[in-house]
Protein backbone atom coordinates (compact mmCIF):
# COMPACT_ATOMS: atom_id res chain seq x y z
CA UNK A 1 0.00 0.00 0.00
CA UNK A 2 2.71 2.44 0.99
CA UNK A 3 4.60 1.91 -2.26
CA UNK A 4 1.70 2.80 -4.55
CA UNK A 5 1.84 6.32 -5.98
CA UNK A 6 -0.40 9.04 -4.56
CA UNK A 7 -2.56 9.75 -7.59
CA UNK A 8 -4.19 12.76 -5.94
CA UNK A 9 -0.97 14.72 -6.31
CA UNK A 10 -1.50 14.83 -10.06
CA UNK A 11 -4.71 16.80 -9.44
CA UNK A 12 -2.79 19.75 -8.07
CA UNK A 13 -2.17 22.61 -10.46
CA UNK A 14 -1.07 26.09 -9.47
CA UNK A 15 -1.26 28.53 -12.34
CA UNK A 16 1.24 31.35 -12.03
CA UNK A 17 -0.13 34.88 -12.02
CA UNK A 18 -0.57 36.88 -15.22
CA UNK A 19 2.63 38.28 -16.62
CA UNK A 20 4.79 35.42 -15.39
CA UNK A 21 6.23 34.83 -18.85
CA UNK A 22 7.06 38.52 -19.21
CA UNK A 23 8.82 38.53 -15.85
CA UNK A 24 10.94 35.57 -16.93
CA UNK A 25 11.89 37.38 -20.14
CA UNK A 26 12.74 40.60 -18.32
CA UNK A 27 14.86 38.71 -15.83
CA UNK A 28 16.77 37.05 -18.68
CA UNK A 29 17.29 40.40 -20.44
CA UNK A 30 18.53 41.98 -17.21
CA UNK A 31 21.05 39.20 -16.71
CA UNK A 32 22.19 39.44 -20.32
CA UNK A 33 22.69 43.16 -19.88
CA UNK A 34 24.59 42.62 -16.62
CA UNK A 35 26.80 40.01 -18.29
CA UNK A 36 27.52 42.39 -21.20
CA UNK A 37 28.35 45.13 -18.75
CA UNK A 38 30.65 42.84 -16.77
CA UNK A 39 32.50 41.70 -19.88
CA UNK A 40 32.80 45.33 -21.02
CA UNK A 41 34.16 46.24 -17.57
CA UNK A 42 36.84 43.57 -17.99
CA UNK A 43 37.54 44.31 -21.59
CA UNK A 44 37.99 48.08 -21.38
CA UNK A 45 40.93 48.21 -18.92
CA UNK A 46 42.64 45.38 -20.78
CA UNK A 47 42.15 47.21 -24.05
CA UNK A 48 43.58 50.42 -22.58
CA UNK A 49 46.55 48.50 -21.18
CA UNK A 50 47.21 46.90 -24.56
CA UNK A 51 47.02 50.31 -26.22
CA UNK A 52 49.59 51.69 -23.77
CA UNK A 53 51.84 48.67 -24.28
CA UNK A 54 51.56 49.05 -28.03
CA UNK A 55 52.40 52.72 -27.74
CA UNK A 56 55.35 52.04 -25.44
CA UNK A 57 56.68 49.34 -27.75
CA UNK A 58 56.33 51.51 -30.80
CA UNK A 59 58.13 54.36 -29.04
CA UNK A 60 60.83 52.07 -27.70
CA UNK A 61 61.21 50.38 -31.09
CA UNK A 62 61.38 53.76 -32.78
CA UNK A 63 64.16 55.09 -30.53
CA UNK A 64 66.28 51.91 -30.86
CA UNK A 65 65.97 52.12 -34.65
CA UNK A 66 67.05 55.71 -34.46
CA UNK A 67 70.03 54.68 -32.36
CA UNK A 68 71.07 51.96 -34.81
CA UNK A 69 70.59 54.37 -37.69
CA UNK A 70 72.97 56.87 -36.05
CA UNK A 71 75.98 54.48 -36.01
Amino acid sequence: MGSEPILELAELAETPSDGFEGRVQRSILRRNFAADLASYAWFTPIRILLEYLGLALSLGGGSSTEGQGGE
Partner: protein, 196 residues
Protein backbone atom coordinates in the same frame (compact mmCIF):
# COMPACT_ATOMS: atom_id res chain seq x y z
CA UNK B 1 -8.48 22.52 -31.32
CA UNK B 2 -7.28 20.37 -34.21
CA UNK B 3 -5.53 23.37 -35.77
CA UNK B 4 -3.92 24.13 -32.47
CA UNK B 5 -2.57 20.59 -32.24
CA UNK B 6 -1.34 20.66 -35.81
CA UNK B 7 0.59 23.85 -35.25
CA UNK B 8 2.04 22.75 -31.92
CA UNK B 9 5.76 22.28 -32.43
CA UNK B 10 7.53 19.49 -30.57
CA UNK B 11 9.70 20.59 -27.64
CA UNK B 12 12.83 19.37 -29.43
CA UNK B 13 12.25 21.75 -32.35
CA UNK B 14 11.64 24.66 -30.01
CA UNK B 15 14.80 23.85 -28.10
CA UNK B 16 16.83 23.85 -31.32
CA UNK B 17 15.26 27.16 -32.33
CA UNK B 18 15.96 28.67 -28.93
CA UNK B 19 19.56 27.43 -29.02
CA UNK B 20 20.25 28.98 -32.40
CA UNK B 21 18.27 32.18 -31.79
CA UNK B 22 20.27 35.42 -31.58
CA UNK B 23 20.57 37.07 -28.17
CA UNK B 24 17.33 38.80 -27.27
CA UNK B 25 15.13 36.65 -29.50
CA UNK B 26 13.16 34.62 -26.98
CA UNK B 27 10.17 33.57 -29.04
CA UNK B 28 10.96 29.86 -29.00
CA UNK B 29 11.98 29.86 -25.35
CA UNK B 30 8.86 31.84 -24.41
CA UNK B 31 6.76 29.07 -25.93
CA UNK B 32 8.59 26.51 -23.77
CA UNK B 33 7.93 28.70 -20.72
CA UNK B 34 4.23 28.84 -21.61
CA UNK B 35 4.09 25.04 -21.85
CA UNK B 36 5.80 24.29 -18.56
CA UNK B 37 5.07 27.28 -16.34
CA UNK B 38 2.15 25.59 -14.61
CA UNK B 39 3.80 22.27 -13.66
CA UNK B 40 7.03 24.06 -12.65
CA UNK B 41 5.13 26.59 -10.55
CA UNK B 42 3.05 23.82 -8.95
CA UNK B 43 6.14 21.84 -8.05
CA UNK B 44 7.92 24.88 -6.67
CA UNK B 45 4.84 25.70 -4.62
CA UNK B 46 4.73 22.29 -2.94
CA UNK B 47 8.44 21.72 -2.62
CA UNK B 48 8.94 25.06 -0.91
CA UNK B 49 5.62 24.82 0.94
CA UNK B 50 5.35 28.54 0.38
CA UNK B 51 2.95 30.14 -2.11
CA UNK B 52 4.83 33.42 -1.72
CA UNK B 53 8.15 31.93 -2.87
CA UNK B 54 6.77 29.64 -5.59
CA UNK B 55 6.67 32.11 -8.47
CA UNK B 56 10.10 33.53 -7.72
CA UNK B 57 11.50 30.01 -7.65
CA UNK B 58 9.74 29.06 -10.89
CA UNK B 59 11.04 32.22 -12.52
CA UNK B 60 14.61 31.43 -11.47
CA UNK B 61 14.23 27.87 -12.78
CA UNK B 62 13.37 29.18 -16.25
CA UNK B 63 16.17 31.73 -16.16
CA UNK B 64 18.61 28.94 -15.29
CA UNK B 65 17.17 26.81 -18.07
CA UNK B 66 17.61 29.65 -20.56
CA UNK B 67 21.27 30.18 -19.72
CA UNK B 68 21.92 26.43 -19.62
CA UNK B 69 20.16 25.78 -22.91
CA UNK B 70 23.37 25.96 -24.96
CA UNK B 71 24.71 23.02 -22.95
CA UNK B 72 21.50 20.98 -23.26
CA UNK B 73 22.35 18.06 -25.55
CA UNK B 74 18.91 16.50 -25.74
CA UNK B 75 19.85 13.22 -24.04
CA UNK B 76 16.64 13.55 -22.03
CA UNK B 77 13.48 15.45 -22.90
CA UNK B 78 13.32 19.16 -22.22
CA UNK B 79 10.60 18.47 -19.64
CA UNK B 80 12.80 16.04 -17.68
CA UNK B 81 15.74 18.43 -17.90
CA UNK B 82 13.67 21.33 -16.53
CA UNK B 83 12.34 19.10 -13.75
CA UNK B 84 15.90 18.33 -12.67
CA UNK B 85 16.83 22.02 -12.69
CA UNK B 86 13.71 22.74 -10.66
CA UNK B 87 14.39 19.96 -8.14
CA UNK B 88 17.95 21.13 -7.70
CA UNK B 89 16.99 24.76 -7.34
CA UNK B 90 14.20 24.09 -4.83
CA UNK B 91 16.38 21.80 -2.72
CA UNK B 92 19.10 24.46 -2.61
CA UNK B 93 16.49 27.04 -1.66
CA UNK B 94 15.26 24.85 1.20
CA UNK B 95 18.81 24.29 2.44
CA UNK B 96 19.48 28.03 2.43
CA UNK B 97 16.16 28.76 4.11
CA UNK B 98 16.72 26.22 6.86
CA UNK B 99 20.17 27.64 7.57
CA UNK B 100 18.73 31.18 7.69
CA UNK B 101 15.71 30.50 9.88
CA UNK B 102 17.57 29.54 13.03
CA UNK B 103 15.65 30.36 16.17
CA UNK B 104 17.15 30.01 19.61
CA UNK B 105 14.38 28.33 21.59
CA UNK B 106 16.28 28.90 24.82
CA UNK B 107 15.73 32.60 24.42
CA UNK B 108 12.92 33.41 26.88
CA UNK B 109 11.59 36.13 24.61
CA UNK B 110 11.27 33.65 21.78
CA UNK B 111 9.86 30.74 23.71
CA UNK B 112 7.06 32.82 25.17
CA UNK B 113 6.17 34.33 21.83
CA UNK B 114 2.90 33.32 20.29
CA UNK B 115 4.38 33.62 16.84
CA UNK B 116 6.54 30.53 17.22
CA UNK B 117 3.99 28.38 18.94
CA UNK B 118 3.04 25.51 16.63
CA UNK B 119 -0.32 23.87 16.94
CA UNK B 120 0.09 20.09 17.22
CA UNK B 121 -2.98 19.61 15.09
CA UNK B 122 -1.88 21.50 12.02
CA UNK B 123 -4.71 20.00 10.00
CA UNK B 124 -7.42 21.38 12.23
CA UNK B 125 -10.26 22.77 10.18
CA UNK B 126 -9.32 20.69 7.18
CA UNK B 127 -12.74 19.03 7.13
CA UNK B 128 -14.35 22.15 5.77
CA UNK B 129 -12.02 22.33 2.81
CA UNK B 130 -12.55 21.00 -0.70
CA UNK B 131 -10.77 17.84 -1.80
CA UNK B 132 -8.08 19.80 -3.61
CA UNK B 133 -7.53 22.06 -0.65
CA UNK B 134 -7.30 19.02 1.62
CA UNK B 135 -4.63 17.50 -0.60
CA UNK B 136 -2.79 20.82 -0.54
CA UNK B 137 -3.03 21.17 3.23
CA UNK B 138 -2.02 17.55 3.83
CA UNK B 139 1.02 17.94 1.63
CA UNK B 140 2.01 21.19 3.32
CA UNK B 141 1.71 19.53 6.72
CA UNK B 142 4.32 16.89 5.87
CA UNK B 143 7.90 17.49 6.96
CA UNK B 144 10.42 18.29 4.21
CA UNK B 145 12.23 14.99 4.72
CA UNK B 146 9.23 13.07 3.40
CA UNK B 147 7.44 15.74 1.36
CA UNK B 148 10.30 16.39 -1.06
CA UNK B 149 10.92 12.75 -2.07
CA UNK B 150 7.16 12.23 -2.38
CA UNK B 151 6.77 15.22 -4.72
CA UNK B 152 9.82 14.27 -6.78
CA UNK B 153 8.41 10.79 -7.30
CA UNK B 154 4.63 11.15 -7.51
CA UNK B 155 4.34 14.66 -8.92
CA UNK B 156 7.50 14.94 -11.02
CA UNK B 157 7.81 11.27 -11.90
CA UNK B 158 11.57 11.27 -11.35
CA UNK B 159 13.26 7.88 -11.08
CA UNK B 160 14.43 6.68 -7.68
CA UNK B 161 18.01 7.03 -8.86
CA UNK B 162 17.43 10.67 -9.85
CA UNK B 163 15.80 11.32 -6.47
CA UNK B 164 18.74 9.72 -4.71
CA UNK B 165 21.13 11.91 -6.71
CA UNK B 166 19.15 15.07 -5.99
CA UNK B 167 18.94 14.37 -2.27
CA UNK B 168 22.50 13.08 -2.00
CA UNK B 169 21.40 9.78 -0.48
CA UNK B 170 21.60 6.14 -1.51
CA UNK B 171 19.05 4.43 -3.72
CA UNK B 172 17.47 2.40 -0.90
CA UNK B 173 17.24 5.51 1.30
CA UNK B 174 15.46 7.37 -1.50
CA UNK B 175 12.97 4.51 -1.89
CA UNK B 176 12.41 4.41 1.85
CA UNK B 177 11.76 8.16 2.03
CA UNK B 178 9.25 8.01 -0.81
CA UNK B 179 7.52 5.09 0.90
CA UNK B 180 7.39 6.96 4.21
CA UNK B 181 6.10 10.06 2.46
CA UNK B 182 3.28 8.08 0.88
CA UNK B 183 2.41 6.44 4.17
CA UNK B 184 2.42 9.75 6.01
CA UNK B 185 0.32 11.41 3.31
CA UNK B 186 -2.23 8.56 3.30
CA UNK B 187 -2.40 8.50 7.09
CA UNK B 188 -3.09 12.24 7.35
CA UNK B 189 -5.31 12.53 4.31
CA UNK B 190 -7.23 9.30 5.01
CA UNK B 191 -7.71 10.30 8.62
CA UNK B 192 -9.44 13.49 7.52
CA UNK B 193 -11.61 11.68 5.00
CA UNK B 194 -12.68 9.12 7.62
CA UNK B 195 -13.62 11.91 10.01
CA UNK B 196 -15.98 13.46 7.47
Amino acid sequence: MLDKKRTLKPDGDLVLEAQSAPTGDMRAFAELVRRYQEPVNTNCRYMSGSPADAEDLAQEVFVKAYFGLKRFEGRSSFETWVKRIKANHCINFLKKRSSRSFVDVEDPGVSSSDRVRVEPTGLKGLDRLSKRERIRATLDSLPESTRIPLILRDMDGLSYQDIADELGVGLSAAKMRVKRGREAFRARYGHREAEE
